[in-house]
């Protein structure tokens, strides 16, 4: 997989305050990259610098290998995006709005417009004025305008703001489809943890303008290391576990212990051989929320 986007030591100073402090990361092609952080951490500022809405104080941004500062037009040609709520010209129809944006990029044909409209499912209403659209439809139109020129990198700033669960799910499905079918990279920012967990492949956590941590959401490497398992068991386990030197904590209805995946069948077998009744065994995965709170609290600040 190639590199779609690269940030090198990006810093932004506003009114003498460091809003973004030496942030560097890369986004691979075909990946959904999440930007997570408490309000005011610098998510939107970073995204605006990538999209060319704000200038950097220092550092470099490369989009598909093009320097955003020196090769502005080439670099921005690879980007499509919605920054916060997709604002459209309300007195124009959806189609006229798309034509406005089509004229601003090279080589967007009529078929392409129709294709995009169909992709986001607006074919029936596209010739109606945008002021009659619901928020969900505007969001879809926003997605359509950002797809017109086949961008390699999609930037979505809080794309699910104000959407109902169905709308959120729709956006998610669209994003998955785009990354799988077209190999597009997507950068999403949000403060909704559960949302991000479902959408993203990797998540960068940003706090006070600093990149604190980058996490793989579906980390296969993690399966090798120890996990926490919950066993719903009745009494009689204490002696055997102690004998084998396995540490455990008693919790409601059972016990929890740290095990490697390979050990699990052995432990179960051992317990059964000693006639301990097992009702349930499950992996307790640490939710992103736990990890997020863990990481950001280490930074010293608590999140509101």
């Amino acid at each position: 997989m190639g590199t779609a986007l690269e940030l090198k030591n990006v810093t932004k100073v506003m009114k003498g305050k460091k809003i973004i402090d030496d942030v560097s990361f890369t986004v691979k092609s075909g990946e959904v990259f999440g930007f997570l952080g408490p309000n005011g951490a610098g998510k939107t500022t970073t995204i605006r610098m990538i999209a060319g809405l704000m200038k950097m104080t220092s550092g470099e941004i490369f989009i598909c290998g093009k320097d955003r500062e020196k090769e502005f037009e080439e670099a921005l040609g690879h980007i499509g995006g919605i920054v916060e709520n997709p604002e459209m010209y309300k007195y124009l129809t959806g189609y006229q709005n798309l034509k406005q944006y089509a004229r601003m990029s090279k080589g967007v044909t009529k078929q392409k417009i129709d294709e995009v409209v169909e992709f986001v499912g607006l074919t029936n209403r596209i010739h109606e004025k945008v002021k009659t659209y619901s928020l969900g439809m505007r969001q879809r139109l926003g997605l359509a305008q950002s797809l017109l020129h086949d961008p390699d990198v999609m930037i979505l700033d809080e794309p699910t703001n104000g959407l109902d669960p169905a709308g959120i799910r729709e956006i998610r499905d669209h994003l998955r489809k785009l990354t799988r079918e077209k190999g597009m990279s997507v950068i999403v920012s949000s403060h909704l943890l559960s949302e991000m967990e479902m959408m993203c492949d990797r998540i960068a956590i940003i706090q006070n303008g600093k990149l604190v941590n980058i996490q793989n959401v579906h980390d296969e490497a993690e399966a090798e290391t120890a996990h926490r398992y919950f066993f719903e068991v009745e009494s009689g386990y204490a002696s055997i576990l102690k004998e084998k030197g396995i540490e455990y904590q008693e919790v409601e209805k059972g016990i929890e212990m740290e095990l490697e995946k390979d050990q699990v069948p052995n432990v179960i077998k051992m317990l059964i051989e000693h006639e301990v009744r097992i009702f349930e065994v499950k992996l307790i995965s640490k939710s992103l929320e736990d990890r997020f709170l863990e990481i950001t609290e280490k930074g010293g600040t608590t999140i509101a």
Partner: protein, 316 residues
Amino acid sequence: MHKLIVNEWTKIFKRAGTYVMIAMILLGVVAMGTLIKMTEEPDQAGDQWRDELSQQIKEDKKDLKDMPASAGDMKRFLEKDIAINQYRLDNEIAPPSETTGWSFIDESSALISFAGLFAIIIAAGIVASEFSTGTIKLLLIRPIRRYKILLSKYVTVVLFGLFMLAVLFISSAALGFGLFGTGDGNSVHLAYADGEVIEQSQMLHLVKIYLLSSIDVLMLVTLAFMISAVFRNNSLAIGISIFLLMMGGNVTSLIAAKYDWAKYILFANTNLMQYFNGTPVVEGMTLGFSIVMLCIYFILFMALAFGVFTKRDVAA
């Protein structure tokens, strides 16, 4: 670039307000035509115009002699009248005794500031409204440099101003020739410059009047555009520009009566007609001086608009 202008043009003409503006200009022309038609007295000049003109010249010459040396403006005005009337007598060109289509177009030029008002409203909104609706974000993440976006907006505003001017000119021509006819087919305009009388085609003269009268409008449109781009505030831009459109000229002539530096004020220079028919606001001003001043103001406005717009961080 032309595609960006098409975009801006589309946005202007998809709004109902624009058609209200055009309708108001048409209404203004019709109202003026009706008023003139109703109040006009029947023509009784006939062939007496030669006697009347000779009489007029005599009176003017007498006035000119009696006038104190300090009344320079008035003197020049009388000299011009005498010269033109003499020319008419010498060349057998009767003065226009009644309203014709030509003179109606000339009179309609009073509505130019009306058309200018609308151009100012468009100029004030064209950048500021993108910010207030948030659409600026979608414009600026395109692979187009910011100065091009701003330039296309400015060009569109100027084109819109010219369009409004054309609406005014054509509608008053249509109405004027319809109501008053072409006169006696005598389509010559007499201009006076440097002590000489020159014959000009009416058409050329009128186009010149329209374009020259539009200069103050153009400058105010540029000012409104600058305020719109710098402060992103629609009402501020409209307010300041319209206030100056109404008051700028008057205040400047008040100042000009007392102080010489008034000639550096924008509005002392916007009326280039003063060098063709009449006298400058401040003694000693020349056409060249005014053009230089206008250029300086223009460059200043543009530098501010482009400087701020291309550097600004788009937050909010």
